[in-house]
């Protein structure tokens, strides 16, 4: 515990912020059977970020998020085009677009040499919470609290910003998005601007995925979009309760998963730590399986 602030604080905070942003937006995605679409989207934002960084030479949050957003809109537009105009089966359309986008992203990363500058594509997939170290976390007594906070890694502020944006979008359009998820035909008949609302939801999803993939990885982002909301859905019949429960389950998975990763091997006398993004995802999955088994009996 001596090094909590340096070693553990930032990974825990980053994972919690990412998990909250993903789980909140995930509530609407699973209700409209778009979990796999979210998986596809989370892979598709990668080339957008790579190209944005390669073009501008900047790695600031705005560049990264903008690149992810553009790629997300391009990917979802392409899926819509393939299914509507090309009459491609919807699942296949998702598969085609996300694998092509992701493959392009990997090759861009390798060919532009960005992969040698700390932008590791393997970490995009596997997550790299362990790498988020707050150098002045425990030491740095000569610094004021404010100065210390200013030395936090960029991902923390980025994820906090995204969580605020995602929550704001979901809260501002809560009535409309709920109606759209429940009955899109009635929503259109009643005169709601369905296209704009879809764009707002896509924006929230893309922001959450983009911010999440650099720190916690694509796969954990998907696990958090899908599992906590699906678990919450099994446990309640009110949408507002589902949102609240999913947030609690997401945070709980982060905490349990992280402790398991750091302290788990120690129980067997091993000094190692496991991949925390992986254990958090697995914990969320266990929660879903437990809820499903519980509901099957009840």
């Amino acid at each position: 515990m001596a090094e909590f602030w340096t070693v553990d604080f930032v990974p825990l905070t980053a994972a919690s912020l990412a998990a909250l942003a993903c789980a909140l937006v995930g509530n609407l995605l699973i209700l409209t059977r778009r979990a796999m679409a979210a998986d596809a989207l989370s892979h598709s934002v990668v080339p957008g970020v790579v190209v944005a960084v390669a073009l501008t030479g900047l790695t600031g949050s705005v560049v990264v998020l903008a690149g992810g957003l553009v790629a997300a809109f391009a990917a979802s537009g392409l899926v819509a085009f393939l299914t509507r105009v090309g009459r491609v089966e919807p699942g296949a359309a998702l598969g085609i677009v996300f694998t092509s986008f992701f493959a392009f992203g990997i090759l861009m990363l390798e060919w532009t040499g960005l992969s040698h500058t700390g932008f590791d594509i393997h970490h995009v997939v596997t997550g790299y919470l362990e790498g988020l170290i707050w150098v002045t976390g425990d030491g740095g007594e000569n610094l004021s609290l404010f100065q210390k906070l200013a030395t936090l890694p960029q991902v923390v502020t980025e994820l906090a910003l995204v969580l605020v944006l995602v929550s704001a979008i979901l809260f501002a359009f809560r009535k409309e998005l709920a109606l759209l998820a429940f009955d899109p035909v009635f929503a259109r008949a009643t005169g709601l601007p369905v296209g704009l609302l879809e764009a707002a939801l896509l924006t929230a999803t893309a922001l959450a995925c983009t911010a999440a993939f650099k720190s916690v990885g694509v796969v954990l982002a998907v696990a958090m979009i899908v599992c906590p909301p699906a678990t919450a859905r099994l446990l309640t019949t009110r949408l507002s309760q589902q949102f609240a429960l999913s947030a609690v389950i997401a945070l709980g998975s982060v905490l349990v998963g992280y402790v398991a990763a750091v302290a788990g091997p120690g129980l067997f006398g091993s000094p190692l730590a496991l991949n925390a993004a992986g254990t958090i995802g697995a914990t969320a999955g266990l929660a879903l399986v437990a809820a499903a088994a519980l509901r099957a009996r009840a």
Binding site: G95, L107, S115, V125, V222, V226, R233, A282, G285, L288
Partner: protein, 298 residues
């Protein structure tokens, strides 16, 4: 550029060493089987299950590696990894079925949950593997995006044998699969075991995807069963012909992808295969004789 073309020619004419040639032929055979198997998954709207299966094999591979290392065997040579992957693939199919049957979860959410959480569990186990072992590493880095160059001839032969097996199975029940894909209700009333045929397609796709992991990687293996059938669909409206064309496109994509990856530096095999397949898909979308946007009949 001249050097690149000369290299490419050498690889394509099997003049780049025995190893490379065997791997490329094995890839082509697998691409062929994947295209054929994927066609029926696509016609039944279930392509993305293969994506979940591919990801969910990781804990099986890591588990097999741990077990093999514990009892002092060489996991790569004894087929341990394939065995572990196969068990995990089977379990993941069962988990998707079990979760997906619940109306509040549904197949889409179940697929995404198994994908993300299975892979998360695999990442956690893999972090254990990578610190535990001496000698040959499991090579998570190459398994993520595929590396045909790293394959042993024995693995290539195994891949080709699996591909042949898959093609044999599909050939044996081609009529029945086509009937189910075309009109499941009629097939059911005609006495065909629709559920079991669907399960067979899922199983065959799982086998293909597992066999494809070494060349295409976890993230992109699904492309081999998704893109060729979707491309083939633009050329014909008849199931038998779509299967043949998909098999051909799959073979060409895998073969040329492996060749490109062998010739170009910094080019993992998985993304190379996907980009070749995506290029063929785009041409088919435009110029396919049955449904193509430019040259199609309708």
């Amino acid at each position: 550029m001249d050097r690149f073309l000369a290299d490419l020619l050498r690889v394509l004419t099997f003049d780049a060493g025995f190893n490379t040639s065997v791997v490329m032929l094995g890839s082509a055979a697998l691409g062929c089987a994947a295209g054929a198997a994927g066609t029926f998954a696509m016609l039944r709207g279930r392509t993305l299950v293969s994506d979940a299966v591919a990801h969910a094999t990781l804990p099986g591979i890591a588990g097999a590696f741990l077990v093999a290392a514990l009892i002092g065997r060489q996991p790569r040579e004894a087929g341990w990894l394939m065995g572990g992957a196969a068990i995990a693939a089977f379990l993941s199919l069962a988990a998707i079925e079990w979760l997906g049957r619940r109306p509040k979860v549904g197949p889409d959410t179940a697929t995404a949950a198994v994908l993300a959480c299975g892979f998360g569990l695999g990442l956690a186990l893999m972090s254990l593997v990578q610190t535990l072992t001496v000698g040959r590493q499991a090579g998570l880095e190459t398994l993520l995006f595929g590396s045909a160059a790293g394959m042993l001839p024995g693995e290539a032969y195994a891949m080709a044998a699996l591909a042949a097996l898959v093609l044999l199975v599909i050939g044996a029940v081609l009529k029945e699969l086509s009937a189910v894909a075309f009109d499941p209700d009629f097939a059911l009333t005609a006495g065909l075991p629709v559920a079991r045929l669907d399960a067979l397609v899922a199983l065959v796709c799982a086998v293909v995807v597992v066999a494809a992991l070494p060349i295409a990687g976890f993230v992109l293996a699904v492309a081999l069963v998704v893109i060729p059938p979707a491309a083939a669909r633009f050329w014909s409206d008849r199931a038998g012909i779509v299967v043949s064309i998909a098999a051909a496109i799959g073979a060409v994509s895998a073969f040329s992808g492996a060749a490109l990856s062998a010739v170009l530096s910094d080019t993992p095999t998985g993304p190379a295969i996907v980009l070749v397949a995506a290029a063929i898909f785009t041409m088919s979308l435009l110029f396919g004789r049955a449904r193509g946007l430019v040259a199609g009949r309708a």
